[in-house]
Symmetry: C2
Subunit: 249 residues, 2 copies
DNA sequence: GCACTTTTCTCATTCAATGAGAAGCGAACT
DNA sequence: AGTTCGCTTCTCATTGAATGAGAAAAGTGC
């Protein structure tokens, strides 16, 4: 970066700025944003002005900064996630209605679970998934299902980076993977919340590997889990077909 | 831009690259992208590499470029649209089920209708709205409802830029605006498709101005329009309440 | 092998972008 | 009114991230 000791590129800075916002920090003051993004104040104001001019960020009357609608538009207009969401939404609605619980659609992204869509349900159990939020692979049923139905190279790569944490959570990791593949879904108790059980089934491509998972979080009950697993697998097949991937779970 | 005759900033270029993708061009070759974004080939490759490194773009084995998941994540994680979607989704589902037609959630953005969400319905009438797509204000019921319930300054600003096209579509513009405000919804025949009727009702803030509209596209029938209008207004009130805006349509 | 496209690299050049610090502004307090 | 503080804008000398033409390398199809 010209005349800057930091060596940042413009792109580095831009990403850091966008990364400064999250579900708990939807709007930020300029000084907080500068601090979070590690950008000197004077530079921050300048960069902010040009980002606002492009509507990548917006600023309200009180000076608070938020993401701009144009950014949202550009990022969603041709997003791969859009095709996935469009195909999955009707099935998710079915699950949402039939099981009466929050329903998620997730993918494996940069070694974490990325929530693509979430249908909420009044009265359902507590669920900490947020759209565009991340959760750990080894501590969610979604994550374990995503991993179990991934290509061997992907599993290998993931483990090369996360073997210790995975083994700490799952000393019987290999057996667990095999069981998930056998039953066709993943189900774990008390991961995120001790009173809940997550159930997740993979949406498969025509080679039998996952492209996403559909999941619910249930009150902790043994009997409902198997029927939820079956319903999720059924929905997953429908989604797969709608995506024209020819997957068979 | 250093050593470039174009005078572009990095940000200009970045936005042009993202703007090169749309619903009909979800993936592009590098040379097509360079052409659409008006960036010299050598620069395009370099910029692409750094955008891929940040996962703002991704590249498949055949060299095709798409938007990256990280971009989607950053843009959606704290988006204002997310709150709106979350509040509106249950009501949209109700409308979707009860009226049996595609349902949209839209906002007024840069003098156009921006579709925030769309629930589809098998067997429903043709509908050209895409999520994160744009449609013209003067040729959609959504647009007319958005305008009718906007603050006077916004209406004035819009007209200062679009008076001719609005008058061409609606010689009786003022009367139309008054009628939409009186009935509480907008309904127009044959705008996008001669065989359909759009019906749109505003989601209002506590000052009585729109923050979004919820709409459906119906087969062309006079009787269904009034009941659809009422259902949409009912849904809109629920959404407004869920957003805690205290709106009363 | 040849022709064409795609991709990577070189290199002299450059200007968009930098940040410290000053100046301006507004709000809150005494 | 004066002072303090935080926010915002401006100045200015500086600079290195970024440039693109064109060459070279690599890949693809006939």
């Amino acid at each position: 970066m010209a005349n800057s000791p930091s060596g940042d590129s413009m792109l580095d800075r831009l990403v850091r700025i966008l990364d400064s916002f999250d579900a708990n920090n939807q709007s930020l003051s300029v000084s907080v944003l500068a601090r979070r993004a590690d950008i000197p104040q004077a530079s921050m104001y300048r960069l902010l002005d040009s980002m606002v001019a492009h509507d990548l960020l917006s600023r309200d009357a009180s000076g608070q900064v938020r993401l701009g609608l144009r950014l949202w538009e550009l990022a969603n207009r041709s997003a791969t996630t859009q095709d996935l969401r469009t195909a999955a939404l009707p099935f998710m609605e079915d699950i949402n209605q039939l099981l009466g619980q929050n329903t998620q659609l997730s993918v494996l992204h940069q070694d974490e679970v990325l929530i693509i869509e979430r249908l909420s349900r009044p009265g359902s159990v507590v669920n900490q998934a947020n759209v565009a939020g991340r959760m750990p692979v080894q501590r969610t049923s979604m994550g374990m299902a995503l991993l179990a139905f991934s290509r061997p190279e992907i599993i290998g790569d993931y483990l090369s980076r996360h073997d210790a944490v995975m083994t700490a959570s799952h000393p019987d990791f290999r057996a667990k993977m095999a069981e998930i593949r056998r039953t066709g879904y993943a189900s774990f108790d008390g991961f995120i919340d001790p009173e809940t059980t997550g159930v997740a089934a993979p949406i498969l491509d025509d080679a039998g590997y996952q492209v996403a998972v559909i999941s619910v979080v249930l009150p902790r009950q043994t009997r409902a889990v198997q029927s939820a697993g079956l319903a999720l697998r059924t929905a997953a097949r429908g989604i797969s077909r709608a995506l024209q991937l020819g997957g068979t779970a």
